[in-house]
């Protein structure tokens, strides 16, 4: 008897131990991508990977480092790096080994060529299952990944891999603490962050604001050279070959066009005294005044143009309505506290347009607690039907219960189209749902329209197809993505679509829906949610944005920047101010004013970057601005390569001159507006 108890105790203690550290496996999934300068595409619209020089995808290096950071706390953890792609990816896997990974596994099979994110998530999950990692695994494991890739920019694969494995996830994470049986992570959300308690096993995608990757050690590099990469074929993973590759993917690239907006080389303003610089700048802006007054640098204009030229098939195949019984446009309304998220109101615009074209309805699902009052507002912004899912457990956004709600609704109602705002929530939720309902999803779209598609192999014209159009390959191309599975899913980039005018006379129906949840849907706990009030939404519509980097905070706490904004506002210009991540990190500005990849993407008519170096992450948030003026002391600053006008000088000398000019009536060629 005593012996039995002892064994039982031993067993439990071992179990606890194993849960906490023993045998912990850390898997990082990683992709090799062409260097941004090397991106080119084959005739089929897919990436031509044969000639380009490649490296580890930038975000993935943060994922790799996070694994190594955990290993500091769990020294006997095994680190495994996993990738999918051609054998040339071995080069990057070796680098991961050199950084300190123990094992490298590559899923490489020609059958996988042309896989979209749905198929990729499935294939990687199949491999991981075969390696012993799934929700049923006895041994604890953590999967890390990068946030997104530079060649795809979807951020889908982490979500879709987690869904296929059936494990919880947290994406856009910038801080991870290992707590034995769970992780405490800080996840970026619009205007702030969320602190989550995520049980192990789980998948965490790491944002590029986390710890940067270490350099490989020489010892590591020597070890890497003698470590063999394990290469797996698709068959070995036991995956179903019919749902991978080009033919198995629910989305396909139907068209790719270059974005014609090569910013001409920067015009460096020269002059010895700050006043000369200001005079010259004013004179140069006078010269291009006409092009300053134009529309925002965004895609709205092209959006309308696109509508006019939606693809018409030019062949004479039989026409097939592929939707079967699926009808209607679904959108998800994300609540930020008591108010709907701006991006959720924005997507009602394309949803309305598409529904009108398809002669169907817009259904908006609102999730949260005590939110019924919001329904009328959603109707006023364009919905025909509002579905209220009210549950105290839904007060804070969590992906698993939300996925359950929306999946059940979709299975119940079979919408043909489902749209999400491309917030950090929408961008992880949509792909997870897509994997669950076997649908294709397109990330971060800037234009959505209905067209038709002549499938030459199937000799069929499919209609009415949702054409999801999105910038890709580092914003150098516009790709049109389509699929013939319903629902056709897409996330829409924040700030791209205008919110429709609020029309309180619009009529619509409101109904309630009660989904069934499993306990495991609530396994992730929200420990803290922090969202800055104010939201900085004016940044999406401001004509002039003046942003400051950390030095602008160090020197005068953004005073000169704010003074210039005020001077412009006094002239009737809608001007506002933003900040770089460094400035926000240092407390000079609230997160809501952060411009960049992890902040807001803005497209004002004029963007003035003050003491901003021009890190890629910042450029991503402002490079589509109409005109860009960069003021920086460092002539090497990358920002100058993305600006129309450059001034190499301490901003403290230049801004007072510009403020004086504005006070004297100079408005950067813009007319005082509404």
């Amino acid at each position: 008897m005593a012996k039995k108890i002892l064994v039982a105790v031993l067993r439990t203690s071992r179990a606890v131990q194993s849960k906490e550290s023993m045998g912990l496996k850390i898997i990082t999934i990683m992709k090799q991508v062409p260097l941004p300068t090397e991106m080119r595409m084959g005739a089929d619209g897919l990436m031509d990977r044969t000639k380009a020089k490649s490296s580890i995808n930038a975000d993935c290096t943060f994922g790799l480092e996070q694994g190594l950071q955990i290993k500091k706390h769990v020294p006997d953890a095994e680190l495994i790096v996993v990738s999918m792609g051609p054998t040339s990816f071995e080069q990057s896997l070796k680098k991961a080994l050199a950084m300190g990974y123990d094992r490298a596994v590559l899923l490489s099979d020609r059958k996988l060529g042309g896989s979209d994110t749905f198929a990729t998530g499935y294939a990687i999950a199949s491999l991981l299952k075969k390696l012993g990692f799934s929700k049923d695994s006895k041994e604890p494991f953590i999967i890390f990944s990068g946030r997104q890739t530079t060649d795809g920019d979807t951020a889908h694969v982490p979500s879709q891999t987690a869904e296929n494995l059936g494990i919880p996830q947290a994406t856009f994470v910038e801080k991870v603490e290992y707590k034995g049986d769970h992780l405490k992570v800080r996840r970026i959300i619009e205007g702030g962050y969320q602190v989550l308690k995520v049980p192990i096993p789980c998948l965490i995608s790491i944002a590029p604001t986390a710890t940067p990757a270490r350099r490989p050690s020489l010892k590591g590099a020597i070890r890497a050279r003698s470590t063999k990469t394990e290469i797996w074929s698709l068959d070995q993973t036991g995956a179903d070959a019919s749902v991978v590759g080009l033919s198995g993917s629910p989305t396909l690239v139907s068209k790719v066009v270059d974005i014609q907006k090569n910013r001409p080389a920067v015009n460096m303003i020269s002059g010895h005294e700050p006043k000369d610089l200001a005079d010259t700048l004013v004179a140069e802006i006078e010269k291009i005044k006409d092009s300053m007054g134009g529309a925002h640098g965004g895609h709205e204009e092209s959006d309308q143009k696109n509508d006019a030229v939606a693809a018409k098939a030019d062949v004479d195949f039989p026409r097939v309505d592929f939707r079967k019984d699926a009808r209607g446009v679904l959108t998800w309304i994300e609540m930020h506290g008591d108010t709907p998220a701006r991006s959720s109101l924005e997507i009602l615009n394309p949803a309305r347009k598409l529904a009108d074209q398809l002669k169907t309805q817009v259904t908006a699902v609102i999730t949260g607690h005590n939110i019924k009052g919001v329904a009328a507002e959603i109707i006023a912004y364009g919905a025909d039907e509002v579905v209220v899912v009210d549950d105290p457990r839904l007060k804070e956004y969590r992906i698993l219960p939300l996925a359950a709600v929306l999946t059940q609704w979709m299975e119940h109602k079979r919408p043909e189209i489902a749209l999400f705002g491309a917030t950090t929530s929408g961008r992880e939720l949509a792909p997870r749902i897509a994997s669950r309902v076997h649908a294709g999803v397109t990330a971060d779209c800037t234009s959505l329209r209905i067209g038709e598609y002549a499938h030459r192999m199937k000799k069929t014209i499919f209609y009415p197809v949702l054409e999801s159009i999105r910038p890709t390959y580092g914003e150098s191309k516009l790709a049109t993505i389509i699929g013939f599975w319903c629902p056709q899913m897409a996330t829409a980039r924040s700030g791209t679509f205008k919110i429709l005018p609020k029309d309180l006379s619009r009529k619509g129906t409101v109904r309630e829906f009660t989904p069934t949840f499993r306990d495991s849907d609530f396994c992730v706990e929200v420990l803290e949610t922090k969202r800055e009030a104010g939201g900085g939404d004016n940044l999406f519509v401001a004509d002039i944005i003046i942003s400051g980097g950390r030095p602008a905070g160090d020197h005068d706490d953004f005073k000169l920047i704010k003074d210039l904004v005020q001077a412009l506002q006094e002239r009737g210009i809608n001007a506002d101010w933003g900040a770089s991540r460094h400035a926000v990190d240092n407390g000079y500005a609230p997160y809501a004013r952060q411009i960049g990849q992890t902040g807001k993407t803005v497209r004002p008519k004029l963007y003035i970057a003050v003491a901003i170096s021009g890190a890629i992450q910042h450029l991503a948030g402002m490079k589509e601005s109409g005109k860009i003026i960069a003021i920086n002391q460092d002539p090497q600053a990358a920002i100058f390569r993305h600006a129309d006008f450059g001034i190499v000088r301490d901003y403290r000398e230049v801004l007072p001159e510009l403020i004086a000019k504005v006070k004297a009536g100079f408005t950067f060629g813009l007319a005082a507006g509404k």
Partner: protein
């Protein structure tokens, strides 16, 4: 993981340039020859080559016109038609330039003839040599900086790679990665000109005590793409004169490579007196000379780079060896100035070091005495002969071009003797040559103020050129340009010399800024611009700047330079 175990090798070669790779290849061949096993068998002793550039060749920059004969010696098994050469020299001219005109020299000055030589891209050649070396069993790792030598009882016992993941103040960050200790029986320094380890070694062990001070030039060059038929592959053009003053040793060159590319560059002796001389600016001015501008008229800039050239010759060589260590190639100063060639001497020195290393390994004796074989071999070598004939060449030009030509003529007649009782002429430390700014009648920066407006077609400002060097550095690391005393800059150097660092650096690492309120001048550094040329380490008037290695993989990305 934090506590580093030691990496063991028999031979550690620091630097994957021509000299280091030649050492590795020849040593591997000698080992294989003495160990008749089937091909592909592991070498009996380990050879490890470390290169700080992100890949082999990414920090390699050279003229380069080379004599193919030396490759036959290094790689007897390789068919010369497989050499990665651009083109044999097809036309070889020397011009004398005045501001507006060009006079072709009726004959090629002695030692400058390039008949039978080939134009190469040294970067391409090193990549090719690295592939060969790896096939022969040499272990090559690029992207690793070696920051320190390891000594035990005065013997060199290896070296250590740099710590990474350290912030600007030297504090380890979350991604800290400790450097690795490498233990080697012999460490071969092949760092290129003004190697940071070589310099520390020579200082510590007083290896250059008896030598003339090493004197340098800075070579600055651009690679251009020209319309077909503008400048033939294999055409070699050297120029003297404009924009150099008569008292300044320097010249320009244009070489035709394959594929419509040409390199245009200047080499400027660093023993100049004018603190405002700027080699990058000099190249820009050079390109505006009608003869050069015409060549480049319809071209496009592709790449930019700079590197120093050790020109002191025979009398500036340090002692080439010590316990457990040997110095090869440009690090030692193996370069024959009048013919502007260092590649063949680098290879020759590497081969001699390899012979020495093999014997030392066989006898298991790595003492200074055993390694002195390297010096003995050198004294009997063709390299010695070459260097000996021109041993006073550069010293003779220490007094300017006119006296220099006179000295050189005398040296040719006497077989290299200098006109001093001992036959050995002195050189002066480049850093000591400056005149105070007030004593320079027409400073370079003023004289050419008009020309120094860059049109971004033919001429480019420094920062733009730096962009074309592809240089990048991790921002999070201690500054690798160590200014020893900022007060000295502020209080002495800037007032007296006007801050020569802002001029001599061809990559705008050093900026003199004026405080708008007080009007006080100060030095600001932009280490991320650095192209690893080492001019600052040489030409600072007070020796106040020490060039140290940044993280491995940082620095320029040279291609075809």
């Amino acid at each position: 993981m934090s506590k580093s175990e030691v990496i063991h090798t028999d031979i550690l070669i620091v630097g994957g340039g021509v000299a280091g790779l030649a050492t590795a290849i020849h040593l591997a061949d000698l080992m294989a020859a003495g160990n008749p096993q089937e091909a592909g068998a592991a070498l009996p002793w380990k050879i490890l080559v470390l290169e700080k550039g992100s890949s082999i060749g990414s920090h390699t920059l050279s003229g380069a016109v080379i004599n193919p004969a030396i490759l036959k010696e290094l790689l007897p098994e390789v068919d010369p038609k497989d050499y990665p050469f651009e083109s044999p020299v097809t036309k070889d001219d020397v011009y004398f330039l005045t501001p507006k005109h060009a006079l072709r020299a009726p004959f090629t000055p002695p030692f400058m003839g390039n008949h039978g030589n080939s134009v190469v891209s040294l970067g391409k050649m090193t990549r090719w040599l690295a592939e060969i070396a790896e096939k022969k069993g040499v272990q090559i790792y690029s992207g690793f900086s070696v920051s320190e030598m390891l000594y035990e009882n005065g013997h060199v016992v290896g070296a250590r790679t740099i710590d990474t993941g350290v912030d600007k103040h030297g504090k380890p960050m979350d991604n800290f990665q400790a450097g690795d200790e490498i233990r080697a029986k012999i460490t071969v320094l092949a760092e290129g000109p003004r190697g940071s380890l070589t310099r520390a070694l020579c200082r510590k062990l007083k290896l250059d005590e008896k030598s003339n001070p090493q004197v340098y030039s800075t070579g600055v060059k651009e690679l251009w793409d020209l319309p077909e038929g503008t400048f033939a592959a294999g055409r070699v053009m050297h120029t003297l004169g404009y924009p150099f003053e008569f008292n300044h040793f320097g010249g320009g060159f244009v070489y035709g490579l394959n594929g419509r590319q040409v390199v245009v560059g200047i080499a400027a002796g660093l023993d100049y007196v004018d603190p405002t001389f700027d080699s990058h600016a000099a190249l820009q001015i050079y390109k505006t000379h009608p003869m050069i501008a015409k060549i480049l008229a319809k071209g496009k800039l592709l790449r930019y780079g700079a590197k120093t050239i050790p020109e002191g010759g025979l009398y500036s060589l340090p002692q080439l060896y010590h316990d457990g260590v040997m110095i090869v190639g440009d690090s030692a100063g193996f370069l024959s100035m009048p013919s502007l060639k260092g590649v063949h001497l680098a290879i020759e020195s590497g081969m001699m070091a390899a012979k020495t290393a093999l014997e030392a390994l066989q006898k298991n004796d790595f003492s200074s005495k055993q390694l002195s074989l390297y010096a003995t071999l050198f004294e009997k070598s063709a390299a010695f002969n070459t260097l000996s004939k021109t041993r006073n060449f550069r010293a003779g030009f220490g007094y300017g071009m006119i006296l220099g030509v006179f000295h050189f003529a005398m040296q040719i007649l006497t077989g290299g003797r200098g006109i001093t009782p001992s036959g050995r002429m002195k050189t002066h430390e480049d850093a000591a040559c400056y005149k105070a700014l007030a004593d320079v009648q027409k400073p370079f920066c003023k004289k050419f103020a008009k020309e120094l407006v860059f049109d971004k077609q033919l001429t480019f400002d420094k920062v733009t050129d730096v962009y074309f060097s592809g240089s990048k550095h991790d921002e999070e690391q201690p500054c690798h340009l160590r200014v020893l005393d900022f007060e000295l800059c502020r209080n002495v150097c800037i007032p007296k010399f006007g801050g020569p660092c802002q001029y001599f650096c061809p990559a705008e690492v050093y900026e003199i800024v004026t405080d708008p309120k007080t009007g006080k001048k100060d030095l600001h550094l932009h280490p991320a611009n650095c192209v690893h040329c080492k001019t600052c380490d040489i030409k600072d008037p007070f020796g106040n700047i020490e060039w140290a290695v940044p993280y491995g993989g940082d620095g320029p990305e040279y291609e075809n330079l």
